[in-house]
Symmetry: C2
């Protein structure tokens, strides 16, 4: 399965049951049944269905044998060629259901109906499935791309504003990785209320696909450009206990300012985008920066940047810079230069 925007279906309403195979199993976020009659109706059309509690605990390897055994019984005698797994939910449901699809009879067809903006703009397209082993997130998984991704306006629009906000940072990341200017991003900068993620969704995920196509399994050093803002974002997310969106927003600001210093990203571009990020995705930026000065401990930052200290001195950590809009560059850095930059930018004292 080659990742391609051609596999995405944009529509106002949920697809018909007939779109899917007769023996398809729907793995869905149980909360959705209570959210709207249309979702409940859609779910109940599947004789083979498996409701889950979304979130990180769903991805625990310890619970997987129990889930898998139940799912196997539901799928029952459906042959490999006729089997199909459909994920209806956010990122954790997609990661879990994708893993099931990738290992059931050594891999069956997989389709996604993301119900959160974050999944719709990012995780549903990436083909990364994952489970957690003990405390380690995404310690095991596979690459297994969805053959179809249904992007449904009415479903995505019924999320509250806060969740739409969380996806803005990933959206802006896509804009930064794209050379072409986007008119809609200008509007976002001028009026947050008028910004409409749905109208920009195709343009945004096209950037992701243009990168995925070149390096679907992250073997050529190209796919990692999608990590822009994420290596430090991950540190902020864990140590400051932020939402993924807010953490990536801070991570992007860090990466842009570091890029200005180290790779001559123009001051104008840097400041213009940082302002947009603060406005749309990190309105608490100043407060968080002050908090980070108290809460970011050097050792913890180090430990998060390198899963293992033995590796740190030898290899450094891969960090994605932006030389100009649409021109990312991955560089191996030693930990000290990242810590110095965190100081220079006022995140740690």
């Amino acid at each position: 399965m080659v990742p391609s925007i051609e596999n995405c279906r944009f529509s106002t309403r949920l697809p018909s049951r007939k779109t899917f195979r007769p023996g398809a199993i729907l793995i869905y976020d149980r909360r959705l049944e209570g959210i709207s009659p249309s979702l409940r109706h859609f779910i109940r059309q599947f004789k083979n269905r498996y409701g889950v509690k979304a979130g990180e605990s769903l991805k625990s390897l310890d619970h997987f044998p129990k889930h898998f055994s139940k799912i196997s019984k539901i799928i029952g005698g459906v042959k490999k060629q006729e089997a199909q797994v459909i994920a209806l939910g956010g990122g954790s449901v997609g990661d879990f259901a994708g893993f099931v699809a990738s290992v059931y009879h050594r891999g069956v067809d997989f389709q996604q109906i993301p119900t959160t903006w974050l999944a719709a703009i990012d995780s549903a397209h990436g083909g990364k499935t994952a489970l957690n082993s003990g405390e380690v997130k995404n310690q095991l998984g596979t690459f297994h791309f969805a053959s179809k991704i249904y992007l449904v306006k009415t479903i995505l629009k019924q999320q509250d504003q806060r969740l739409e906000r969380q996806a803005f940072a990933e959206h802006i990341k896509h804009a930064l990785l794209c050379r072409r200017p986007w008119a809609q991003i200008e509007i976002m900068g001028n009026s947050l209320e008028k910004s409409d993620l749905w109208a920009q969704l195709r343009e945004s995920i096209e950037v992701k696909y243009s990168i995925l196509k070149k390096d679907p399994k992250e073997t050529k050093g190209i796919r990692s450009h999608l990590n822009l803002g994420h290596s430090m974002g991950h540190v902020f997310e864990v140590l400051l206990n932020l939402s993924h969106g807010e953490a990536v927003a801070l991570g992007l600001i860090f990466a842009l300012r570091f890029s200005q210093k180290k790779f001559g990203l123009s001051e104008k571009t840097c400041e213009q985008w940082c302002q947009l990020i603060v406005k749309t995705s990190a309105p608490r930026f100043k407060a968080l920066q002050l908090r980070s000065q108290k809460e970011l401990k050097l050792n913890q930052v180090k430990a998060l940047l390198f899963k293992d200290k033995k590796e740190s001195s030898r290899d450094g950590v891969g960090f994605v810079f932006l030389q100009a809009k649409g021109r990312p560059k991955k560089v191996n850095l030693n930990v000290q230069s990242l810590l110095s930059e965190l100081k220079r930018q006022g995140f740690i004292r």
Copy 2:
């Protein structure tokens, strides 16, 4: 990773520790430590090693989280690009270790050192990894080909004669799937004592690779030719409680005689090969055939041929015939014609 005979290394002794990456983990059959000093020495050279009890219980999904967590701790901070999983053991160890390698950080390098003839001639090359869920064998797994397969004469030769016998049936299957005649097979037919599986190993697995190359993930209906003798062999294995080798031997005889009747396989070819199979792999053939008349129950045979009865009427079961040596043909059959043929050949009354 494209499956290729070029990835096989034939040698007299075990490879040097330096052949593998510094951070490689060896997953090995614990019993091997007691078998020979050279094996014990080889195993102890790996700082990262994980001994397992070989057999079907190793492949239980229920035990997998515990195994995986321990293995993850042993691998520790080794980066994905530097990680490597090496399997030392028979089929179950290879299936298990291959699955670990395929899901650890979404897939790391995998190498095999098969220590049984069955693994050396068959499973180590096929790229099929597998775990069992509940009672269902190989219910989940992945395709993940070993990048190197080490075939070590001294290790394989120290198995007892009975285990070498078990591999003869798979070896003869390869000969049947190959148009070219093999001189060594003639010798086997004339004198079992002089037959030397090591001398024929490359020729035998070349047949497997020629098929794997064309259809590595079993999507084109070519790879399934390797199932010659196996659909009924599996029935015999379970219901008559036979070893895999003996069961496949009976399955091959069934397939050859059925092929003679249905696809004009010449009587001479059929009988010549059936005699060879009886002599090398199923000396108890007559006794087993008589036993099967008492023990094979129609319903159990049906249930094993179709995992689900709902599917049976619609689809039938794929059965591999041999039109002539080297000319397999897969046909969808209904269950009744298989049962009639079992009767005609005297396996059931």
